[in-house]
Subunit: 478 residues, 2 copies
Amino acid sequence: MDDDAGALPPKHQFSEWYNDILWRAEIMDVRYPVKGTYVWYPYGFAFRKHVYQRLRDLLDRDHQEALFPLLIPEQEFMKESEHIKGFEDEVYWVTHGGTTPLDVKLALRPTSETAIYPMYALWVRSHADLPIRIYQIVNTFRYETKHTRPLIRLREITSFKEAHTVHATWDEAQAQVEDAIVRYREFYDGLCIPTLVSRRPDWDKFPGADYTIAVDTIMPDGKTLQIGTVHHLGDHFSKTFEIKYEDINGEQQYAYQTCYGISERSIAALISLHGDDKGLVFMPAVAPIQIIVVPITIGKRHEDVIASAQSLEVALRKAGFRTKLDTRETRPGAKYYWWELRGVPLRLELGPRDIDAGTVVAVKRTGGKVILNRADINSGVACVLAEISDAMRAKAEEHTKSRLCTASSINALIAVLNEGKVAVVHWCGERVCGDAIEEKTNASVLGTEVRSPYVSDIEGACIICGKLGKVTLIGWAY
Amino acid sequence: MDDDAGALPPKHQFSEWYNDILWRAEIMDVRYPVKGTYVWYPYGFAFRKHVYQRLRDLLDRDHQEALFPLLIPEQEFMKESEHIKGFEDEVYWVTHGGTTPLDVKLALRPTSETAIYPMYALWVRSHADLPIRIYQIVNTFRYETKHTRPLIRLREITSFKEAHTVHATWDEAQAQVEDAIVRYREFYDGLCIPTLVSRRPDWDKFPGADYTIAVDTIMPDGKTLQIGTVHHLGDHFSKTFEIKYEDINGEQQYAYQTCYGISERSIAALISLHGDDKGLVFMPAVAPIQIIVVPITIGKRHEDVIASAQSLEVALRKAGFRTKLDTRETRPGAKYYWWELRGVPLRLELGPRDIDAGTVVAVKRTGGKVILNRADINSGVACVLAEISDAMRAKAEEHTKSRLCTASSINALIAVLNEGKVAVVHWCGERVCGDAIEEKTNASVLGTEVRSPYVSDIEGACIICGKLGKVTLIGWAY
């Protein structure tokens, strides 16, 4: 199903590398004939499955998974005025069933507030029904007019995890926002994706929210990728959709809500941050194949080696490692190249001499080779996989640190951005100064109230007006 | 989130029972404001998850899961003429992005042949690429003008598992059809859903197929529900979409294809066949909650009983049983009613006397009570759950047998149908006789080449023309 003609561009040509690795490693096929929509190859889909299983596991602690319809009637969609203003240019409309015009136009959900909240209005009766914490993982649609890019800027977002919660008070909703941020940081930390969490400026918050906290990561080219958002919705939607509960005094109160989402941009971040010149590098925790066993059958004892490799594969599988044995009739070198491109974190080589010595050669996708004892291969492999994760974490953190730089003037800020870095500046919080920053740099005010181990939160002079300002991230964003 | 006001209609009023049980047991909320689309409650979604996990496990043996886009450009969709004829009245069309009319209208997939096969044309190059066996689980859309019904006749099918395979020869595709039938029968057998497999008459085959084998089950009201189909596509689509491979002689050949699908009608069948006057009855294998533990805390020793019930729940969970402890402050009787309605297969009751005696009272949702020893509760519970599955299987088989009846004349056929049964007749296979049967009964010729333990395949006189005919199923179909 693939074509390995030509070489993968080097990673420092990031845009070319990214486009190429997706099809070469069989993550996505970009040739589907609708702009901004893509096909998940089975290998890519398997990767997605493991990543989203982690997300489900995190949420299932105290959320419930459900499923709401894709189609939203026009009148529901149009109810919340700020919300519709934010989305009206981006919504796909279904207007015909067969050859018949529909009485009511139907929107393809760009996000599901207006599909879910009419149901919440029916479900919420009493304070005893609260909190509600429900999520779904669905396809959503945005008619993007900007340049589309697989996994990053899509017309069909195939893998949108959206959680929607309902609470009795504004403070409880705020606590849920905090909990969601902690959960998202845990998710990305487990995947060795460093994050910058910040509060988006008001002009960039979710349409209809009180405020938005965003999770960004710095991509290899220094641009930021938003890989998660958490919104405090206040009572905007509950007032629009009449989501009320009876409090302990028997009085009707409007509920408070939050919503938070993660899309397949999480996959884009994993591919981009961990990959290298040779191809993908999958985190062991989410690798579709964690271990590839390559028998080295040069010379005699061919059968011997194959049998031994097979029993090695079976043993590793039994121990719970996602293992594959490559018995194709090609040179070992070609197999190394093949599985390195596809990001398998650990390769085990097994030849006649290894069998005699009771050893296995373990080659880490992150670099380095160790000899493992066959007798306690399970613990050996577990240990090496942990080393691989550690190396990936260290590399991703190093990258992130190297791509952050403080700037105390507008010229310094421009210089930092031109170096392909994200700038840490001080900003007074006024819209006029924020606009000035964005106009002079063509970059975005990502946010304030930064939570990151790499950024310290000390006040200073706004780089535009000189008044007291807060630490603020400025970057070019995807 | 629910309202238990009033009583569940008795099961023999099947239509009322079905509509009621879906919301009472929190499977689906039917109040979503778009006709034919419904909301999966978390409890219903958990049930769906377990059912579809079994389906995935069955397919993952030698299929790969992938994901293709929802939107199909008009020109691709229109390529296969028979196929489009079969669907043109049912397709939803997206015509606008924001306020902009689209250059190319986009269909919401009613099924994915025309989304997947242009990609297969790119993926298939050589005989070495074959067979391809890929499936996806997606939402599909049909603009149904008939009366819609949750899980059965939908405008958004939320849970369509569709497999699409490519083979070198017609015979290999036929072998795949046979394999798919075996797999589907295994799936339903594992769920205690009796099946009638038959070959649909030519006028009822899938648009663009050589032939269609269908899997039906008999619902409580005697109507049949199609719960799976397998299609031999011949080379119709490969010629339309140019899916060709180079054979071992270096020559280009058109490929042969099959496709087969199962939707949430599988869930409708499970609910309908196994439920009773008290509510749902979930197969232990797919029950979101397999065991509900109800502490009996009447009188003293309240703390004692709760602590013992908690440790029982923990032990059962550790042993892998999906267990829940109900500590709500309501009467045990109300809890029994609640969990019976929701189909939990096994209830464990634990009171002070049980603690003293080292026992647990096990009440089967299918009827009957046994005393289990606390000391070996895991094996006791496993045994009782197996008995529950056996009872469900026996009941479903008994129902199916009782709803099948032979008829050797058109009057007998009408009488059988009027008794709410599926008729086994002989039919010569000619369209004119088939039409006569359908006109005179208002029922459907379901199919020939019947595979069922309840139907023997002996030839006889066609009930219309008297010529030699094959065993044929006639029924009123959903």
